[in-house]
């Protein structure tokens, strides 16, 4: 790390609900990227699936004018995260460098307070040691810690990718390497409904959308959590015909 004095970044995400088809590819991509354990039918049925990301599906209207409303829900990486101050051990802590909300697994003692206090229900808990039978554990991503029983976990904005991109940019002297980084969900999203980028970067394509889109809103803005994810309202009529 030769020179590390530039402005800290603020990573952000824009999710266009109009483009989201609810296909759940992001959910699987997140799981496969982040070594998320599957838990099995009974545990999922009891609300213990380890989904760092899930797509909420509500219905609107009555038959036959009925339709789903999809909202991909993940950690909003709040600027003022309710989960952070309540952790007694600093396991949930704000990153000054990435401007995201970190979960430090080895510091977590499993009070689960953060999860209660997360209005987005973005946190999931390792209720057991989930075993992946050999040889299936071979696909585990070496960049991501395998969480053990008793710790909380959540979406990290693929922080391992961010860190690696930064290291690559620093050591190769090419800052653009850092701009290309994206999260697993955004990478997989077939309609590009999920867009990821650096909000401090003037040229970042999501900066305008994040700050100025007339469809933009943030979930539970009224709680003052200052999320790093802006949703673009879907379903409505804007710009085009009808």
């Amino acid at each position: 790390m030769a020179q590390v004095t530039e402005q800290p970044r603020k990573w952000g995400m824009v999710i266009d609900l109009d483009l989201c088809t609810g296909c759940n590819a992001c959910v699987t991509a997140c799981a496969m990227e982040n070594n998320i354990h599957y838990t099995g039918e009974d545990e999922v049925a009891y609300g213990r699936g380890l989904y760092w990301m899930r797509i909420q599906r509500y219905w609107h209207g009555e038959y036959p004018n009925v339709g789903p409303e999809f909202t991909p829900m993940l950690c909003q990486q709040c600027g003022e995260a309710p989960c952070e101050p309540v952790c007694p051990t600093y396991a949930s802590v704000h990153s000054n460098e990435e401007q995201i909300n970190l979960q430090v697994y080895n510091r977590c003692i499993g009070t689960r307070y953060c999860a209660n206090n997360c209005p987005y229900h973005a946190r999931v808990f390792n209720f057991f040691d989930y075993e992946i039978p050999a040889p299936m554990n071979a696909y585990l991503n070496p960049d991501v810690t395998v969480r053990s029983r008793g710790v909380m976990e959540k979406c990290t904005f693929c922080v391992h990718r961010l860190v690696h991109a930064r290291i690559d940019a620093d050591t190769q002297g090419d800052p653009s390497l850092e701009n290309e980084v994206t999260t697993a969900c955004a990478q997989a999203c077939p309609t590009n409904a999920i867009m990821f980028g650096d909000l401090t970067d003037e040229n970042s394509p999501i900066r305008t959308l994040f700050e100025r889109s007339e469809r933009g809103f943030q979930i539970m803005e009224e709680l003052g959590t200052f999320p790093s994810i802006t949703y673009l309202k879907g379903g409505g009529v804007y710009g085009g015909r009808d």
Binding site: G79, E80, A81, C83, E84, P85, Y90, V93, H94
Partner: protein, 178 residues
């Protein structure tokens, strides 16, 4: 310390007036207050018995403990974040409202623990006065322990007995603790 023989005048539990009278007799006999001590099964205040105020530093020790707790609270709240600041929920690094909670608890903890320590320390500190004991105290009896020079003995004994006291002489000093 006290090498003179210890005498004990025991009164029944309802003979408070007599006990007070006995003390004034002893005093008039020239037994200094420091050579008298009263032992009882219920707390009897100095005013009742006409005794000089005894003093205790328990309050002071407690106060010192409270200050120590206060300082400890400030130290564990502020020093670690000075060394290694961690940001949570965009709270200030030194948030006063949350600190108050910690400060309050640790101050009280300091106060209360040191009060106990004060009681303990003062108890095991050697004290003045005759060191006798009679288990009948816990029966409610009021005992007056005193030492006095041999020349005043007979007269005062009679007076005490006249008040209803049961006299015991040359009490063995018993080690009660540990």
């Amino acid at each position: 310390m006290i090498t003179e023989p210890i005498h004990l005048a025991l009164f029944e539990e309802d003979q408070i007036n007599e006990a007070a009278e006995a003390i004034s007799i002893l005093r008039s006999q020239g037994v200094p207050d420091r050579n008298i001590s009263v032992i009882s099964g219920v707390p009897l205040s100095e005013h009742i018995l006409g005794r000089p105020m005894s003093w205790s530093r328990v309050g002071l020790i407690g106060l010192v403990g409270a200050v120590a707790g206060f300082l400890a609270a400030l130290a564990i709240t502020y020093l670690p974040v000075l060394i290694y600041p961690l940001n949570v929920g965009r709270m200030p690094v030194f948030p006063i409202p949350t600190t108050l909670v910690v400060v309050f608890e640790l101050t009280m903890l300091g106060l209360l623990i040191s009060t106990l320590l004060g009681v303990f320390v003062e108890t095991i500190t050697p004290s003045y006065g005759p060191h006798g004991y009679d288990p009948r105290i816990a029966h409610g009896k009021i005992g007056i322990l005193f030492t006095c020079p041999p020349e005043v003995d007979c007269e005062s004994y009679d007076q005490l007995v006249a008040l209803g006291a049961e006299l015991t002489h040359n009490l063995q000093e018993r080690k009660l603790w540990p």
